[in-house]
């Protein structure tokens, strides 16, 4: 069970109760094939807004930045709608992570969502970018990079609209090299300047379509990373993809996300060479990782700190539930430091031990009790001035009293489903089975320690209480 759950956690958001019972003899290749087949199909777009026509004008929500085409009051209405749409998109995606059989696709989309970190208060742009990411999450990194770089969300976020011939704005060019491809230290300031010139003219229109504005493009000769030509933006991307360093940078980051925060240089070398030779096939890279024998080494199991979204989604998968107020998940994301669509900066979420401080850990450990036992959330999150636009309260503040008023708690757990999944397990083996299905650390916490807090009146009570306590451990923060 340990090895299969290792794959389920790293290639997705953990096993559901049913998946525990289908334990067949584990071989990495066979399980990988199954994981891949479930994820292969092109995803349905997650849609919260129909089109730009909904009023998601260019620059909306960036006061002072947009044409004064609407009255302030009607713009405020539009901004409010857009914020609501972004929240809906967040929740819709979380549901997809919980329910979709295409676990690998959603997992890698979460990776790319952090890699191509972007903030936009325009819900239509966000929706568009998320779809590009989910569509290309397992395909070609070259395509993904190009699509993301041409998305209005990213062009706007990294100020490429202001990047013009004779008046360059280097933000976009710098981040494409520093964060998306080569990594810091693998290019010069001169390269940034030259690339910025090449990206002039990359823009988008009011319908949210990429356009190339020839009139503001600098068509002159540029020299970038040793290559010279009358480069445009596409050429820059080609030059960057032709560098093996790009493959090494991406491989290293994916390895840290999927395998181990401390990369093994030999593994990276081997993987990145093959990734480069495959012309950036993400599928090939993932197959190389998930079928490698070292992926299943003890040193790579149960030692990765789940991100808040992975924790939340994993809880919902392992403990199927109906949330009484889906928006409570926004409170959890804020309290734990990972709100989808709101990365902390262009570098994305730093991850690893950065997720953990005393308050975050204590809240993480209380989360199963909040969900399953109706423990009060009892916490106020910080506002986000970019999202709230100076309104008096954090965007999700109405949720708190609503939840607190509900004595029945935040969610109703489907214990029947869970109990059924463990129906064939003897009472004396239950602790072991539950523990092994939930935790990736061995040995498990001592049975006596947790049983001291268990309710033993009925089998269901035993299972539910042991599960909640197992999920309230430091070990459950790891996968």
């Amino acid at each position: 069970m340990l090895l299969q759950n290792h794959l389920f956690w790293r290639s997705g958001f953990g096993p559901t109760p049913q998946m525990q019972n289908q334990a067949k003899a584990f071989t990495a290749k066979k399980y990988w094939d199954a994981v891949w087949q479930s994820a292969e199909k092109a995803p349905m777009p997650l849609q919260v807004t129909q089109s730009m026509a909904d009023g998601m004008m260019n620059g909306l929500g960036q006061p002072g930045g947009q044409a004064q085409m609407e009255s302030e009051a009607s713009r405020e209405v539009l901004r409010k709608q857009s914020r609501q749409n972004i929240r809906n998109l967040n929740l819709l995606w979380i549901n997809e992570m919980v329910e979709s059989p295409a676990q690998l696709r959603e997992k890698m989309s979460l990776f790319w969502h952090g890699h191509f970190a972007c903030r936009s208060l325009n819900a239509f742009f966000q929706q568009q970018l998320l779809h590009s990411i989910r569509e290309n999450a397992l395909g070609s990194f070259a395509t993904l990079l190009r699509e993301v770089s041409k998305s209005p969300a990213m062009l706007q976020f990294l100020n490429n609209q202001q990047n013009r011939k004779n008046s360059p704005n280097e933000n976009f060019a710098r981040e494409v090299m520093e964060l998306f491809t080569l990594g810091r230290g693998n290019y010069s300031e001169k390269d940034v300047k030259e690339a910025a010139r090449a990206f002039t003219g990359w823009s988008f229109d009011l319908s949210g379509q990429f356009i190339f504005r020839k009139g503001i493009h600098d068509g002159g000769q540029k020299t970038l990373l040793g290559k010279t030509g009358n480069f445009n933006g596409d050429d820059v991307i080609d030059v960057l993809l032709a560098k093996e360093q790009t493959a090494a940078f991406i491989t290293n980051k994916i390895y840290r996300f999927l395998v181990n925060d401390a990369p093994n240089p030999d593994h990276i070398k081997w993987l990145s060479k093959r990734f480069f030779e495959s012309q950036y096939s993400i599928q090939k890279l993932l197959e190389d990782i998930f079928t490698a024998s070292w992926f299943y080494d003890k040193a790579n199991i149960g030692n990765r700190i789940k991100s808040p979204v992975e924790l939340l989604v994993g809880l919902r998968r392992q403990m199927p539930m109906k949330l009484h107020n889906e928006a409570s998940q926004l409170v959890f994301q804020r309290a734990l430091g990972q709100v989808l669509m709101y990365p902390p900066n262009v570098a994305g979420w730093p991850g690893g031990q950065n997720w953990i401080d005393a308050s975050a850990l204590m809240f993480r450990m209380r989360l199963p009790q909040i969900l399953a036992q109706g423990q009060a959330i009892n916490l106020k999150t910080k506002g986000d001035d970019d999202a709230d636009m100076g309104r008096m309260q954090p965007a999700d503040s109405p949720i708190l009293p609503a939840v607190a008023a509900r004595q029945r708690g935040v969610a109703t757990i489907n214990w029947e489903e869970i109990v059924a999944a463990f129906a064939n397990v003897n009472r004396e083996n239950l602790y072991q089975q539950l523990g092994e299905s939930l935790l990736q650390m061995r040995p498990l916490p001592p049975k006596a320690t947790l049983e001291a807090f268990a309710q033993k009146e009925s089998r269901e009570q035993y299972i539910s209480s042991i599960m909640v306590w197992l999920m309230s451990t430091p070990e459950y923060q790891l996968c």
Binding site: Q68, G302, N345, A347, A358, A360, M365, R366
Partner: protein, 402 residues
């Protein structure tokens, strides 16, 4: 008005010197000395004005035509502002700040910012929290790194820096240590008292696997520190009356801890949102009323307990706002801003430098004259007696107001 870069460092405008009527020692005379911690233990309170407070309507250039021309609707008239000098007024809601100013207990530093300013809230706040250059992304905060240095991996309680909040800010995250976020010591204590956690710690405190060990260590520290903070908060709870606002409660919590023998040197607390794109007057006035009431109560409480000389409260915001008003009775995101320093232990008081130059702007924004990292260096070196260069990662000149 010509801005002389760096000159204020040497020159010092002692505009307020004449108003320092009552010497500190006379004020403190006859006050009860109940503090368990020997007076002289310096404490810093950082008050974050989230959302980008409009500095020009906070410290107002009441004789500057450009100011009134740029802000026909929201400019604060000279007779409405509380006068600090002939040229300078303070927002009418900030009566206690005016009082502190008059008594030589406040310093104001204008035009604080950083090179290549970013007008996004979260990015600019990140820069202020981490003290990184504006083109770098750091995962630790300046007070977190102070905490690393203060605790040095060996202290019993890494509570030298506390945030009065439920969620910890980047500013307090260090490499080795992370500060604690505690909105309410009693609530933190009670949620740390889960018996399961103690049993787990008893059986599994030492983990072989380093990440698991880190989690168990964090849990153990959280429980110990929650206990330590709770006891300290009970030991000498402030009996003074504070406004029943959130900031009022937070400053009362801070005062209670200052009066105890807790090892905390830095408290961090936020008020917001100052993101006044529309109807600025109401919003800023409401927030300043809360700020004024809470800080006023805090100052008298500290004075009554004889600790005002040991506490320095400073305010900052991630950016100021544009010089010109916008079309909605508000202001949009700007750049440089002023900072307040309130306390009995200031070396220089009043207006520390010139008012912002409104005639030389960059894209309609103020040009910063003081880098906030020099302010941090001052607070770290002069007040907290820490090694600012190590904490800020680069040699950074301290200013001379402390």
């Amino acid at each position: 008005m010509h801005i002389r870069r760096r000159q204020f460092l040497q020159q010092g405008t002692m505009a307020a010197a004449g108003t320092m009527l009552i010497p500190q020692f006379l004020q403190a005379l006859g006050q009860p000395q109940v503090a368990a911690v020997p007076p002289g233990t310096k404490v810093l309170v950082v008050l974050q004005l989230s959302g980008g407070n409009d500095g020009l309507n906070t410290i107002i250039p009441v004789r500057n035509d450009i100011y009134y021309r740029s802000r026909p609707r929201i400019g604060i008239a000279k007779d409405k502002a509380l006068a600090l000098t002939d040229e300078v007024g303070i927002h009418p809601a900030l009566t206690h700040f005016k009082q502190c100013y008059d008594q030589g207990e406040m310093a104001i530093l204008n035009s604080v910012g950083y090179p290549n300013p970013d007008r996004s809230h979260f990015r600019s706040m990140d820069i202020w929290h981490s003290a990184s250059p504006s083109n770098q992304y750091w995962n630790t905060g300046w007070l977190g790194r102070y905490l690393d240095a203060a605790c040095n991996g060996t202290c019993a309680h890494a509570t030298q820096a506390l945030e009065i909040d439920d969620v910890l800010s980047l500013a307090l995250k260090g490499d080795q240590q992370k500060g604690m976020a505690v909105q309410d010591p009693a609530r933190l204590y009670s949620s740390s008292q889960n018996k399961l956690y103690r049993s787990l710690l008893a059986t599994k405190a030492q983990q072989e696997e380093p990440t698991a060990n880190y989690l168990y260590k964090t849990l153990g520290n959280a429980i110990n520190n929650a206990d330590y903070i709770f006891k300290a908060s009970k030991a000498s709870t402030s009996t003074a009356t504070y406004p029943s606002t959130e900031l009022g409660k937070s400053l009362k919590t801070i005062a209670s801890l200052v009066f105890s023998d807790i090892n905390t040197k830095v408290y961090y607390v936020s008020l917001g949102s100052f993101d006044t794109h529309t109807n600025q007057d109401n919003q800023q006035n409401r927030l300043f009323t809360e700020l004024n009431g809470a800080v006023g109560a805090f100052v008298s409480d500290l004075k009554a307990q004889g600790r005002f000389d040991d506490v320095l409260l400073c305010t900052f915001s991630e950016f100021g706002r544009r010089v010109a008003q916008n079309g909605s009775g508000g202001t949009d995101h700007g750049t440089a801003n002023n900072m307040f320093f309130v306390g009995g232990g200031l070396k220089r008081k009043g207006l520390l430098n010139d008012m912002p130059n409104l005639s030389t702007l960059e894209n309609g924004d103020l040009i910063h004259q003081v880098d906030f990292k020099n302010v941090y260096a001052t607070l770290l070196n002069q007040w907290l007696k820490a090694d600012a260069n190590a904490i800020l990662g680069t040699p950074t000149q301290a200013l001379d107001f402390i």
